[in-house]
């Protein structure tokens, strides 16, 4: 398969960027999207040029590192999938692909397609934990957890922190990310006690980081590779 790639290239946070067009040829259909970019970079090394920087690590959809907007869609058009799990067989031969970084004020571009997501770390640091200390935990079965609550907590806890929800939101809101963490802990007896304070602190931090508010576009739920529901946001609003 052959593709024409329009890739966003930007030297660093302070410089301006632009699309640069590349052609990749002879791509096997079972090649993953990122492996296709690997091949482009091998070609660039061959030519003596600087490679295109893009973030990746586990390449199995769980670490949350990869982050591309492909033809306008964070993580591509395929549902419930991270970029690293896209395969070229999902695209038609000879097609043109527009590849961009996440775009949000709170996620500054570092270089080319890579962005800085430390704002997410700071939101977790503001309250995304249960204030327990090592050694103080009681016997695990001494506090029972309703199975339904445990399952719901799990469904919120599977957020991989990739930031696609922010990238797609017209307000660049981090509400889904924040709400998922708040609900994960709120559903468990261990985490419930600190719920209100946790929610206040995390939401406050989200605002300080420059993320926008939720105005119910619900695009976040559509692009979330882990299909985290916007009902988390409603539940978060109820806590306050």
């Amino acid at each position: 398969m052959n593709f024409t790639l329009h890739i966003w290239r930007q030297k660093n946070t302070n410089s301006s960027g632009q699309f640069v067009t590349f052609n990749v040829t002879d791509i096997d259909s079972d090649t993953s999207f990122l492996e296709m970019l690997d091949q482009l970079n091998e070609d660039l090394i061959e030519k003596g040029e600087d490679c295109v920087v893009f973030d990746y690590d586990c390449r199995e959809g769980i670490c949350g590192t990869c982050s591309l907007v492909i033809n306008g869609h964070p993580h591509g058009e395929k549902k419930a999938t991270t970029t690293c799990q896209l395969y070229m067989r999902d695209y038609s031969d000879q097609s043109e692909l527009w590849i961009e970084p996440w775009r949000a004020k709170s996620f500054p571009i570092v270089k080319d397609l890579a962005v800085k997501r430390e704002a997410f770390d700071r939101i977790i640091q503001s309250g995304g934990f249960i204030s327990t200390s090592v050694g103080s935990a009681p016997e695990a079965n001494s506090q029972l957890v309703n199975k339904e609550d445990a399952d719901c907590a799990f469904d919120s806890a599977i957020c991989i922190g990739c930031g696609a929800c922010v990238a797609v939101c017209p307000n660049a809101s981090a509400s889904l990310f924040v709400a998922a963490k708040i609900n994960h802990f709120q559903r468990l007896p261990q985490g419930k006690i600190e719920s209100t304070m946790r929610a206040e602190r995390m939401i406050n931090q989200m605002e300080q980081e420059g993320f926008g508010s939720c105005s119910n576009h619900r695009h976040c739920e559509t692009v979330c590779p882990k299909e985290i529901s916007v009902s988390n946001i409603a539940a978060m609003n109820k806590i306050l």
Partner: protein, 642 residues
């Protein structure tokens, strides 16, 4: 030789850790803030250690190469974490978990360490639950368990197929709490490239900021490496692309002994490779073996047929046939070797790679019939979805195909009972050390070890080291600091300016990977190891002559990062082969063809090889030091899973 004192306590096994803890020196709470500790890596071991040291009141500096500490590869562990809680009343106990682990490792690990690990396993579950890790539960509200790879009791705690993710996020959240408190100072997107040793003690590290390329030194009273394993030496593995040996290899070159480098685990249930562009292999949790049945066609001519058209009588459920007692649940090394054997006979299925079909079926049709698709979905849904997204095939309708892939490395930096390497003040935790899994690791034990080291062992032993020592203030213009920074800069200079730049880092990585996979993978023998050692020596020469890195070193440059890592994998690969050649026996995952029984089982030689091979770095050739393993409590037996 005294360097290899394991410092393991004596006396009754049950009391050793308690007694040892009592004998360790303590630092009073008000004095802890005077001590500085560097922790490298934020996987289960690193994040849990940062959290615990921060809570205790120490000053911690933490570093990771990812863009956030939450992304370390522990996150990809699927199946679960073992603990001998015996909630299922099926005869489990600390002793049984200890016994299973030592036997699973084919009697190539220390009794004292493993017993401690088994004891601490229960505390890990308590700790994780209190952090809000959403483990699977019964309708009663109690924690659920399942049995997992190679055990006859249900002792594995799990969070669907994402146990590693949930445990890591738990540790990350506790670590984040300590970052907020100011006691842990964390830097992401930094790679450690050198250890700074002053007066024989590890006192700091040199790191490269991966965004700006800036090289800086960071100083402390001791250094803990939680930097994971080196399966990526094989190029294709289930590890994340960034996983590397650079931190452990730098430590080794500075004097830390490397133990059992050839003990690498090839995991049986991975998605088979399909072609040349492949950049990594994906593991399918071994929990699938609880319900899936593994088979290959009996007749070679059936290998390219639709599996659903092959009648039961023409299927060879080879693990059930070869190992009736454990059947599809035999330990990983045994399952992998059996699978390879079938494919070598020509009875593999799926894509042809290098003239061979690499795959066998993992079939859920009988369990779907019995339990219904819904129940199967609840148990394995995310794994089935993952398989479908990779292969484009629906495992509810067509059996999965699996093939072994490098997954975990039991070898690592040699450490004593206190998890300290042969360099004073340099500790290694989690997969980065060699300590607990012997020659083969059992399923659901990696998470257990990483967290035991980070939450419970290292915080105590590091404090003891600090309490006993005197640490003079060191300035950044100390000659050792300057020379360490210089050596990092010179090395980067050599990578950027090879005399005849020709090939990319990946080119060399694939080369070394393919040699290791063929000669130091699931089957090893003297001749091919000798050949491999020669070829690797040549690759090393070619690498430094022909490595081509484009872009600049004062910039975000992923090609340069890769080149530095591949350079270290080449040297480590050499040591892996040297170690595999030296060990003239088969044990656990180390299968020397000369020492396999006709049945394919490993023939151990306790008399001559009942030791940990700890290698000391020398410019010419490594020196072998032996730590003899004494078994006071368990008599080494033949590992029979029939």
């Amino acid at each position: 030789m005294d360097k290899l004192n394991s410092n393991a306590p004596t006396g009754p096994l049950e009391n050793r850790w308690e007694k040892h803890k009592f004998d360790l020196s303590l630092i009073a709470p008000q004095n802890r803030k005077k001590y500085n500790i560097i922790v490298i890596g934020t996987g289960l071991a690193g994040a849990s250690l940062c959290a615990t040291l921060g809570e205790a009141g120490y000053n911690v500096q933490s570093f990771c190469y990812n863009d956030s500490p939450r992304r370390a590869h522990s996150i990809a562990a699927q199946g679960g974490v073992n603990a001998s809680k015996n909630y299922q009343n099926d005869g489990d106990s600390t002793w049984r978990l200890f016994y299973d682990t030592i036997k699973g490792g084919d009697f190539r690990a220390r009794e004292s360490n493993i017993y401690r690990l088994a004891q601490l396993s229960c505390n890990i579950i308590d700790q994780a639950v209190s952090q809000g890790v959403p483990f699977a539960r019964e309708y009663s509200g109690y924690l659920a368990n399942r049995s997992f790879g190679g055990t006859q009791v249900s002792r594995t705690f799990y969070a669907r197929g994402q146990t590693g993710q949930q445990l890591l996020l738990g540790a990350y959240s506790s670590m984040s709490k300590e970052i907020a408190s100011g006691r842990v100072k964390h830097k992401s997107r930094c790679e450690m490239l050198e250890v700074i040793i002053i007066d024989g003690k590890a006192r700091g590290i040199v790191v490269r900021d991966l965004i700006t390329g800036e090289i800086s030194s960071h100083l402390a009273d001791c250094v803990v490496m939680c930097t994971g394993g080196y399966s990526n030496a094989y190029y294709l593995s289930t590890n994340a692309k960034g996983c590397n040996t650079s931190a452990t290899w730098r430590a080794h070159k500075n004097g830390a002994y490397f133990a059992n480098p050839s003990f690498t685990q090839i995991h049986p249930t991975c998605v088979p490779p399909t072609g040349d562009s492949q950049s990594k292999l994906t593991l399918m949790s071994e929990s699938l073996r609880n319900d899936g049945r593994i088979w290959a066609p009996k007749n070679i001519e059936d290998c390219d047929k639709n599996p659903n058209d092959i009648p039961d009588k023409d299927r060879d459920y080879f693990l059930e046939r070869m190992y009736p007692a454990f059947a599809n649940l035999v330990p990983r090394d045994i399952a992998s070797r059996a699978l390879k054997g079938i494919c070598d006979e020509g009875r593999g299925v799926g894509s042809v790679v290098n003239n061979q079909r690499l795959g066998v079926y993992l079939d859920f049709s009988s369990v779907i019939q019995k339990m219904g698709a819904e129940k199967v979905k609840e148990k394995y849904g995310n794994l089935f979805d993952m398989y479908e997204s990779i292969t484009g095939e629906n495992p509810y309708e067509v059996p999965m195909k699996i093939y072994p892939a490098p997954h975990y490395t039991m070898g690592g930096l040699w450490v004593d009972y206190n998890l300290m390497t042969t360099i004073d003040g340099l500790f290694a935790c989690g997969e980065a050390n060699f300590s607990d899994h012997g020659a083969n690791r059992l399923g659901a034990s990696a998470l257990m070890q990483g967290l035991a080291d980070g939450y419970f062992v290292a915080p105590q032993t590091v404090a003891n080291y600090l309490a006993k020592g005197k640490f003079e203030e060191i300035s950044h213009d100390h000659p050792e600091v300057i020379s360490s920074v210089e050596s990092v800069k010179n090395r980067i200079e050599s990578l950027m300016n090879a005399p005849e730049p020709k090939h990319s880092p990946d080119y060399f990585h694939r080369k070394i990977g393919s040699i290791l996979w063929t000669s130091c993978g699931m089957a090893r023998d003297k001749d091919s190891l000798k050949k491999a050692i020669k070829s690797i020596e040549q690759i090393k020469i070619d690498f430094w002559k022909n490595i081509k890195v484009t872009g600049s070193d004062n910039d975000f440059n992923q090609t340069l990062e890769k080149a530095g890592r591949v350079a270290d994998f080449i040297e480590l690969g050499h040591l892996m082969c040297v170690d595999a050649l030296d060990r003239e026996e088969s044990c656990g995952a180390h299968a020397r063809l000369e020492y396999l029984a006709e049945s394919g089982d490993a023939m151990r030689d306790d008399e001559n090889f009942g030791y940990v091979a700890a290698w000391e770095f020398n410019e010419n050739e490594p020196t072998l030091h032996k730590e003899h393993l004494d078994f006071e409590f368990i008599k080494p037996t033949y590992r029979d899973y029939k």
